[in-house]
Symmetry: C2
Subunit: 356 residues, 2 copies
């Protein structure tokens, strides 16, 4: 059966970077990959066209697809829009709609780019962490929420952090399975000394760990995790945490590498369907200038091939192409050391096609 | 009027490190500081003695005091206690009871200890950030909270993030005033793109900023703040944020210096009364060995003199003593570079007394 991929270029540099990934995808299809793809807008681009950041056309396409490749969403021209139609609402909506509860975010230091890190080489050399972030629960979606007026006339903002056992159990399973494929160490991050929600989180992780005796489970408070990621990040293999703590820690962890332009991500449902996107944002300041780094998007395509299309061989082929262009010394501006060969976004696409 | 100081040694290394600060305090009193002090237990020590981590005796003393100096609380022997009597509950209870809503946590790199940072020297040299964390609201104290059983039989954990205008306004004022005394840059950290509570936070900070035209206010999402603290921490002067984000970011920021054993903190109420404690924990692994670093506690005493006793001269005197011992090359084990003169906790106290 021909696999269906939805391509959502999004906003800012999104169209440029997804274009390079699509060139590789075209070549893989020409070489025999049984897949087809179709475009739809998300975020600001979707608002411009349909008045909604996650319009029905996009919804229909993505629901029917086996996998989704996203560029990035957001831009200053949308900052003054009413909240419910802002670009990031499209992102939150598609995550929830497709039930993409498992966000996998690798933080990997590429040896060729070791200098880009602000951390000392000995602290980050060989860094390879996987953050598993729960993506459809927690305070992101918890009700009740809002801003209300109190009896004394002042306003109060409120949000609800919420996790039920089944939600925790399924993300725990994904986390343990990921650890099994790696170095078999899983650190579950919580704030169980203060928050009951994460007390339950900790309990369920401990319970699920009995099914994975080969994985070593540890627990860490979120404040300590933020410290340890600075002090000794290589102590971690897989880190699993809730939506809001994962938002913070995964961004912190990516930045340890100094080259967030290189980092892909996957957001998966229970059946291996997923949305794949670079960890970086839409970079409106350089949009349309053909300067952006397409490598995180291309590595997101590799994750798509691996997790949703179950095509490990082609996933590795794409990753090898990225490794090759780095070894050849090709760089986009964001990752260029002094004296490097700086390529444009599309030139990097050319180099990748050659390398594939 | 003689000022009253409550001394809460706490658990783990708490008694050793507060002892050194008290030696300095004795000397300052001998030199004419009009203050007296009294001891009370908090945390595990209080549980051992009274069955409560914040017993009435401690409450009475602290309520009557002008300032409180705390060592640290917590230890593995208390981990199996019922939750309501665990040591950290004592800390949360005293913060709430004394209305200590403004937590000031400096992250300062001491030039003598620059090597201790895991970040490259050029990234952290001269680092001097102040984190202002709201300490008596947010999801730490928000109701409703707990773990309940749903109709389908599974359990759900829930907590409530909550901030009202008046709570935000008073921490905003403290933040702007702190920025006025420093480099006049304030970055308010929120997650206003997702959480209504922090949308209100952002709005109130913007409103309060009109009263402080000399301070430049910026806003940043918490995930981006965690990245920027790694990428370019020196861009910050004062960072203000809520209780839970502040818990995470202030620990991350302290660790940037590599020497959390050097960092004090103050938690203030509306009238300048405060609780002062080192940013580090109770370090049960080295407790009782006379190896701990008392400098963060001594610098907390300096903050106590400055903020609660309004004795800027003696605050500076204590800070100068710390600077002098560092310049003399004296180090405790946690901050010792190769070849340094390693002192015990009490020897460091001796050196400080000499330097005072
Ligand atoms: C844009 C925002 C809503 C989103 C999030 O907080 O989840 C982003 O920060 C991310 O991590 O993908
Ligand atoms: C011990 C814990 C309850 C406390 C907190 O989360 O506030 C600690 O981490 C701190 O930052 O003082």
């Amino acid at each position: 059966m021909t696999q269906k991929i939805a391509i959502l270029p999004g906003d800012g540099i999104g169209p440029e970077i997804t274009a390079q990934a699509v060139r590789l995808l075209d070549k893989l299809i020409a070489q025999g990959l049984d897949a087809e793809y179709e475009y739809a807008p998300l975020g600001g681009a979707a608002y411009d066209q349909y008045g909604s950041p996650y319009p029905e056309a996009t919804q229909t396409l993505c629901r029917a697809a086996d996998a989704v490749l996203l560029g990035a969403v957001g831009g200053p021209q949308y900052d003054t829009l009413p909240r419910p139609v802002r670009p990031e609402r499209g992102l939150l909506a598609i995550r929830k709609d497709l039930n993409l509860f498992a966000n996998l975010r690798p933080a990997v230091l590429f040896p060729e780019l070791a200098d880009a890190s602000t951390l000392k080489p000995e602290v980050v050399a060989g860094l390879d962490i996987l953050i598993v972030r729960e993506l459809t629960g927690d305070i992101y979606f918890g009700e009740p929420r809002g801003i209300r007026t109190l009896d004394n006339g002042e306003r109060e903002g409120f949000n609800t952090m919420r996790y039920r056992e089944s939600e925790i159990r399924r993300i725990a399973k994904v986390s343990f399975e990921a650890a099994q494929r790696r170095n078999k160490k899983l650190c579950s991050v919580d704030k169980a000394n203060v928050l009951e929600t994460t007390e339950l989180w900790k309990e369920i992780f401990t319970e699920v760990s009995k099914d994975y005796p080969d994985v070593e489970l540890s627990h860490m408070y979120v404040d300590n995790a933020a410290m340890q990621l600075v002090r000794a990040p290589k102590q971690f293999d897989v880190i699993a945490t809730g939506n809001i703590f994962g938002d913070i820690l995964s961004d912190q962890a990516s930045m340890l590498t100094g080259s967030i332009g290189m980092l892909p991500s996957a957001s998966l449902d229970e059946n291996g369907k997923g949305l794949y996107e670079p960890s970086h944002g839409s970079a409106p300041d350089i949009a349309g200038q053909n300067k952006a780094n397409p490598l995180a998007t291309v590595l997101s395509l590799a994750m798509l091939l691996r997790y949703s299309l179950k095509d490990e061989a082609r996933a590795a082929q794409v990753e090898n192409a990225v490794q090759k262009v780095l070894q050849q010394g090709f760089r986009t501006a964001d990752i260029a050391e002094a004296g490097a060969k700086v390529l444009s976004c599309s030139q990097m696409g050319d180099a990748l096609l050659d390398a594939l």
